[in-house]
């Protein structure tokens, strides 16, 4: 059934048991909203040199947006910035594929649990939900880096 392709068990599991939820110390904070549905996220990034020390977040939204933030936390914390950016770009590519990209082994290796969102890309109205936290992360990281550049 199509519905199951969107609501993979991995997604529902992250939704019910989110990783790293709650706001903690960070170098930069952003607030992103999805104006069409009112979903919101406040997200902080803490860098340790070129490593992502923490991504903490708080927000409200549907299972897809909440699960996506949880997966992001699990996937990116502890990664080198360059590697994290690659994961983000790969995730973006998958989500913008309109269901046309069948994740291969290489993609699965990069995205791990985030591959479960492949089914969501078939639903244009829900792609934004899945991308909300990822766009917030990208924004917050850029902000943290520019703060760092200013103080350096």
């Amino acid at each position: 059934m199509k519905l199951d392709s969107m609501y993979q068990d991995v997604i529902l599991d992250h939704y019910k048991h989110p990783h790293g939820r709650g706001l903690r110390d960070g170098d930069a904070e952003v607030h992103h909203v999805n104006p069409t549905c009112g979903d919101e996220i406040t997200l902080r990034v803490r860098l340790e040199g070129t490593t992502i020390g923490d991504v903490s977040y708080e927000g409200q939204g549907c299972s897809i947006s909440q699960a996506s933030a949880s997966v992001l936390n699990e996937l990116l914390v502890g990664k080198q910035l360059g590697e994290a950016q690659k994961i983000q770009e790969t995730f973006l590519e998958l989500m913008q594929s309109k269901g046309q990209v069948e994740p291969d082994d290489a993609m699965e290796e990069v995205l791990e649990d985030a591959v479960a969102f492949a089914g969501v890309s078939k639903y244009p109205a829900r792609v934004k939900c899945a991308l909300l936290s990822w766009m917030a992360w990208k924004d917050a990281t850029a902000k943290a880096l520019s703060e760092e550049a200013k103080t350096a």
Partner: protein, 418 residues
């Protein structure tokens, strides 16, 4: 099948709406419960649209050829039909716009450029309510920002009604315009027009009514409302998109300045200045949405042939049944009036902690079309501390069986996320 008093012969009516036969998601018959967003269109309207384009298409006014005359007669004929539909004292009080948003923006801009006694400035106040659609909030915020006028509003009670307890403090001698919705697009609340109009008239304020969610569903009599302006849109009342209406009192339309300038709205033009055509043309710059107006005329004929009072009775019966059935669903909370009294056929609700997006998605899989989100009425969601709602909205072709399908669908949603 559930029989309720006051129901229309939906079996016959549904035959007029080709889309209602549509199947989605591998053979599931569509259950269309998103009528507050837009209605489906009867064959009579679709035929009027194609007949116009196939046989009569031309630009309106001033043409001397037969097609231009036919197109003009059809376009102006639609104005007559709409005028009769809303009991306007004069057909010249009916202005065609693109939609209700444009109608409301038109009123705000007429007042924004007006001289005394209509002038809105930093000494004056604009009054709206917390339950407005964004289209009846943002134009007034813009007018307030541009003129310095103070924007005030009525709050909402826990039960989804306007809180008019402080009406004398909200509407004062400084109030120039009071603009409010007749029926809430998110909660279905029918507002007490008379109380608000009486107070506005006491202080000499103009009254603008957003009737977008009223015109499709009940008898709309602009004279009985005693308002100065009434706005609504065509596509929610069986008409096509791209056509809206602003009704305004004749002397106001004569006094107030035009907003959009262009062809059709003028009397004479020189390189230095222009004089304007009388209303309604003064407010209809450029080629109007001709086919859409013709389609709206056909929609008005269609609704009138059934009877707006009978449509209202049908929807009341459906609403009463839907409220009762929905309240049987565990963890379901209706946002808005929890009875069918003084409410239209639009019901918003939350379902436990399940996000409306997820509710809507699982319902869609069963062929049930509802709307999820803040419904362009975000202040209402903020008022009740919720991010969004699921909204089911009914119309003249809705059936008790569709209410049952929704309730069953919600059970499925609960199981899925349980």
């Amino acid at each position: 099948m559930t029989q309720l008093p006051g129901l229309l012969d939906t079996e016959a009516i549904r035959k007029d709406f080709p889309l209602l036969d549509r199947q989605v998601h591998d053979g599931k018959k569509i259950v269309y419960l998103d009528n507050a967003a837009t209605s489906q269109k009867p064959r009579q309207v679709l035929d009027a649209l194609s007949a116009y384009y196939e046989r009569h298409n031309a630009n309106v006014h001033r043409g001397v050829h037969v097609l231009a005359e036919e197109a003009t007669a059809l376009y102006e004929g639609a104005r007559d039909k709409v005028a009769a539909f809303i009991n306007a004292p004069s057909r010249d009080e009916v202005i065609f716009t693109k939609n209700a948003s444009e109608s409301l923006n038109l009123v705000a801009n007429m007042l924004g450029w007006a001289d005394e006694p209509y002038r809105v400035d930093r000494e004056t106040e604009i009054v709206i309510t917390e339950m407005e659609h964004h289209s009846n909030i943002v134009p007034w915020q813009l007018l307030s920002q541009r003129t310095g006028a103070k924007l005030k509003w009525f709050g909402i009670t826990d039960d989804g009604r306007l809180d008019l307890s402080n009406i004398d403090e909200v509407i004062t001698e400084q109030t120039k315009i009071v603009s409010f919705t007749l029926v809430s697009n998110i909660m279905g609340t029918v507002n007490p027009v008379e109380t608000i109009v009486r107070r506005a008239q006491e202080v000499g304020a103009l009254v603008c009514i957003d009737a977008s969610q009223a015109a499709p569903h009940m008898v709309l009599d602009v004279q009985a409302l005693q308002a100065d302006f009434v706005a609504f849109t065509g596509h929610k009342m069986c008409g096509p998109t791209g056509i809206g209406v602003l009704w305004g009192r004749q002397e106001l339309l004569e006094d107030l300045p035009p907003f959009l300038g262009g062809g059709e709205m003028i009397e004479t033009v020189s390189m230095h200045s222009s004089t304007y055509a009388p209303a309604p043309h003064k407010f209809e710059a450029g080629t109007p949405p001709i086919a859409q107006a013709v389609g709206l005329g056909a929609a008005v004929d269609y609704l009138t042939s059934i009877g707006m009072d009978r449509i209202a009775a049908h929807e009341h019966a459906i609403t009463e049944y839907a409220v009762k059935r929905l309240l049987e669903v565990p963890d379901l909370r209706i946002i808005g009036p929890s009875t069918a009294e003084d409410r239209g056929a639009t019901i918003s609700f939350t379902l436990g902690d399940i996000h409306p997006h997820d509710v809507g998605q699982v319902l869609d899989e069963q062929g049930i079309a509802v709307r999820v989100g803040h419904h362009c009425a975000r202040p209402v969601c903020l008022r009740y501390g919720i991010p969004a709602t699921t909204r089911a909205s009914f119309y003249l072709y809705s059936t008790p069986a569709e209410v049952d399908a929704l309730v069953e669908g919600l059970e499925h949603v609960r199981n899925f996320f349980g």
